[in-house]
Amino acid sequence: MCDILAISAGYNYTPGKYLPIFAEKGKENINGWGIGFFREDKALVEKSPEQVFSDRQVHESFQRLARVIDSRIIISHVNCPKSGGHHSTHLHPFKFTFLDHDWLFAHVGVVENIDAYQTTETPRLEVDVYTARIFEYLRDQLVLLHRKNPYISVYIALRIAIQELLDDYPGDYSFFLANESFVFAFCNYRQLMVLKESESMGDIMLITTVEEGLSRTDWHPIVPDPQSQGELLVIAGPDVLYAEEV
């Protein structure tokens, strides 16, 4: 099973502590890894088709990146065979520019039939993995809703987009969608684990699909209500700003 991690801080944070732990916890995901972050509001992604953890070692480049990245928002994904091919272009996070922001997207879960989705906007992500189609679908809906109402709140727009997505392409979704200022986290099947942690520079918020969290501290589970379509959170700086069932 793939895993995802998002870190959100109120200042540029270097994830030297938590990214390697995440890699070790996700070591069964042997089909590559990706790290997305922001530099001066531009999204950057580093990915590799190599194992994130082998011979009891975190991948060397992954370790080095963890020591060097400096960003308010960081998203990482470790890949299992279910998520698609082994080529690094197939790996998450993906990035797009729309609505005046660079956005990063990483997903875990299985969604049938969405491979056939044809985006109505440009550009298209030129990779044949269904996560790319999910990202295009959400982008298309957000752009459409924003065209209809430029002042629609981003949370409400994304909630509508997710409702449409679940109607059109039912499936198992846990994803992060982030721009340089805030992170959306959605889950409708696996729980997300959340921790607000104090660091020397200030608090950070961690959110991951890793079942037991990344440390022995008290991680809080966000469990989607089986009666609902899922739970959507928005995180700004080190705080959960808002969370509601979709």
Binding site: G10, D41, S181, F182, A236, L241, Y242
Partner: protein, 247 residues
């Protein structure tokens, strides 16, 4: 009636055009002014009890600050005294530290009932006004939530709940701006907020004011509370409204 202005952007911004336009349009408020912003996550406030506009000129310091202040969030208040003394201590914005942040607060409206509120925590020194007590009330109730919640609290819900309780306990007119440097919250239960995103002259920033016609000839959006609700709360990050909900 006092007036409020806020700028929120994804990166540090100056507002050398908009702050003077705001000041000129709000010049009938003769009882002081203040500008609050963040530098390296610390709140900085410059304020004065002097008239914003005198002898056909904007206050010299205000003009200079407008050119120099640079921050992701800038909050400006032009005062028309309805509560408290006419001095610098009573000019807005105010600053309090809680929940790991410096918070900047500015208020517009009349809420005389809340002047009787007495906080158990640190108070805004020398300020005896509805605005100072409003800020202390919100701080106290947000901290209470923080202490009682074992799960990560939801900041929007906490502020919405605290504001709702405040209006029940101390009915009044409350338009306020509250920011921790990452997020800008705006609440209204009287008059309106006018906002503008993607102004041609200030691309990438979000602007908000209580002035009924906005600050430019561009199309500003008016938001106000629904008649059957207590008020409207907005959360803004960078140049986006993340969420707005009626309370």
């Amino acid at each position: 009636m006092c007036d409020l202005f806020a700028l929120s952007a994804t990166k540090d911004y100056s507002a050398p055009e908009f702050l003077p336009i705001f000041a000129v349009q709000a010049k009938t408020n003769m009882d002081g002014w203040g500008i609050g912003f963040f530098r390296k996550h610390h709140a900085v406030v410059e304020k004065s009890a002097e008239k914003i506009f005198h002898a056909g000129q904007l206050h010299d310091s205000f003009q200079r600050l407008a050119r120099v202040v640079r921050s992701k969030v800038i909050i400006c208040h032009i005062r028309f005294r309805t509560s408290g003394l006419l001095d610098e201590c009573h000019a807005h914005p105010f600053v309090l530290k809680f929940g790991g942040y410096d918070w900047i607060f500015a208020h517009n409206g009349k809420a005389p009932d809340i002047e009787s509120y007495r906080s158990c925590g640190a108070v805004i020194e020398d300020a005896i006004s509805d605005s100072a007590r409003t800020f202390e009330y919100l701080r106290d109730h947000m901290e209470d939530h923080h202490r009682s919640d074992s799960k990560p609290e939801k900041l929007f819900n906490i502020l919405a709940d605290s504001t709702s309780k405040m209006i029940d306990q101390y009915p009044g007119e409350y338009n306020f701006l509250l920011s921790n440097g990452h997020l800008l919250f705006a609440f209204t239960n009287h008059r309106q907020f006018m906002f503008m995103k993607g102004s041609k002259t200030l691309k990438g920033a979000f602007l908000l004011t209580t002035l009924a016609r906005g600050l430019t000839t561009e199309k500003w959006l008016r938001v106000a509370k629904a008649t059957n609700r207590k008020g409207l709360l907005l959360a803004i990050s960078g140049n986006d409204v993340i969420l707005h909900k009626s309370i």
